[in-house]
């Protein structure tokens, strides 16, 4: 797939690198305040836009980076293209969003938060595990039909709209940057309304 794996980086070393990147990822999540449920859920209540800004920046970096690496021949991006099952994706997205707003974590941040000793994150992980094993054990009898429904094949949005991929990336980046600026202004506006006690209480 790439110039390093599996010829230079063997599968065992690959696991070790994954482990180290995971530690780095967890460290950055903690350093960015992503182990704080109030900060994470702030986007839903309108007082903190960090989540949307971080996810937009990450998505843009990944999109531009992967596309450039593919152009340079370092990776084969076509091997990462998944098949779109729109019905389970939509339902899964709603379930994930509800879990996020109710629990205050997403799966990755819950692990980082649990590592810092947060009890609510540990309870969240128990819930995640119940969900995972519940899904696995009932997959054949309940979920299999849903999982395979709405198969659109390997589609991508540029093909659907009919524009050049690079142009789509640029337009998407432009829209994301404008959204970023709007959310920043919105956040600044809200923070002015919050008292210092509120800010301290929310851990912002």
């Amino acid at each position: 797939m790439g110039p390093l794996y599996p010829d230079i980086i063997n599968p065992e070393l690959n696991l070790l690198i994954g482990f180290l990147i995971g530690i780095g990822f967890g460290f950055i999540l903690e350093a960015s305040g992503f182990t704080n449920t109030r900060k994470l859920a702030g986007i839903f209540y309108g007082y903190d836009a960090t989540v949307i800004k971080v996810f937009f920046t990450a998505a843009l970096t990944a999109m531009i980076g992967l596309y450039t690496l593919h152009y340079l021949g370092w990776i084969d991006i076509t091997k990462t293209m998944p098949t779109t099952f729109w019905i389970p994706t939509l339902i899964g997205g709603v379930v994930m969003g509800l879990g996020f707003v109710i629990g205050g974590f997403c799966p990755g941040t819950s692990l980082s938060a649990a590592a810092t000793g947060k009890v609510d994150a540990m309870a969240f992980i128990v819930g995640v595990m119940i969900g995972i094993f519940g899904f696995i054990l009932t997959f054949g009898s309940i979920w299999e039909g849903l999982r395979k429904s709405g198969n659109l094949g390997k589609v991508d949005i540029t093909e659907w709209i009919g524009i050049k991929e690079g142009l789509f990336i640029f337009l998407f980046t432009l829209i994301a940057v404008i959204t970023f600026v709007i959310f920043q202004k919105w956040q600044d506006h809200w923070k002015k309304k919050l008292s210092q006690d509120d800010i301290n209480d929310l851990g912002l």
């Binding site: 920046t57 596309y67 593919h70 980046t173 994301a176």
Partner: protein, 207 residues
């Protein structure tokens, strides 16, 4: 906004701007549309002549991969030197993917006539396989032109036809086991092209 955020956003915008000039991934993959397919069907170049194949085998040209798409029984009873047997129902199997979907080699399909090989060609071409050709006329033509070449009648004999006939006659000697020493024909061998298997696709994702 913080200065750091402005720098990051500016870098992203500059990076995104450059991607406009990159070619589409889809065009690199060469996914075929029906118009392109129709035009390819009508192209003469998608056929390989029996002379071309005979010449490639005789000269040990490693860039040709011959695929016999007939059933196993027919394949065992007779086939062209160096040909591999892959039947229509097995042609899309994963194990043959690296053998067939390669731009480094010219894959030539053949059957008794052309129709079965044409079916396989269509199936492969619709799945974005490239460099696939069909031996015009199949084994019937192979026997007619290479194994048992007919001498053109005298009033039709041109220099080109005479040259072609001479080649076919020598090729016939070659394939029926008789060695000739005219200089055009080289030693007989069953050299099969070596196709490197691609690395296994990496699967998985993040949660």
């Amino acid at each position: 906004m913080k200065r750091r955020e402005i720098i990051i956003l500016s870098l992203l915008l500059i990076g995104a701007f450059f991607t406009i000039f990159f070619p589409n991934i889809k065009s690199q993959e060469n996914i075929i549309g029906y118009k392109e397919l129709l035009s390819e069907i009508n192209k003469v170049g998608r056929y390989a002549t029996t002379d071309e194949i005979a010449n490639a085998i005789i000269n040990n040209d490693p860039s040709y991969i011959l695929i016999d798409v007939r059933d196993v029984k027919q394949f065992k009873s007779y086939t062209i030197d160096g040909a591999v047997n892959i039947t229509l129902d097995k042609i899309m199997d994963e194990e043959y993917k690296d053998y067939l979907n390669t731009e480094s080699y010219t894959v030539v399909l053949f059957s008794n006539g052309s129709s079965k090989a044409d079916q396989v060609w269509l199936k492969l071409r619709c799945t974005d396989y490239k460099g696939i050709r069909v031996m015009k006329g199949g084994l019937n033509e192979w026997f007619k032109t290479i194994i048992n070449p007919q001498k053109p009648i005298d009033n039709e004999m041109t220099a080109a036809k005479e040259k072609q006939y001479l080649f076919r006659k020598q090729a016939s000697f070659y394939f029926t086991g008789t060695q000739v020493s005219s200089g055009v024909i080289k030693t007989k061998s069953n050299n099969k092209p070596i196709v490197k298997r691609k690395k296994k696709e990496v699967s998985g994702g993040c949660g």
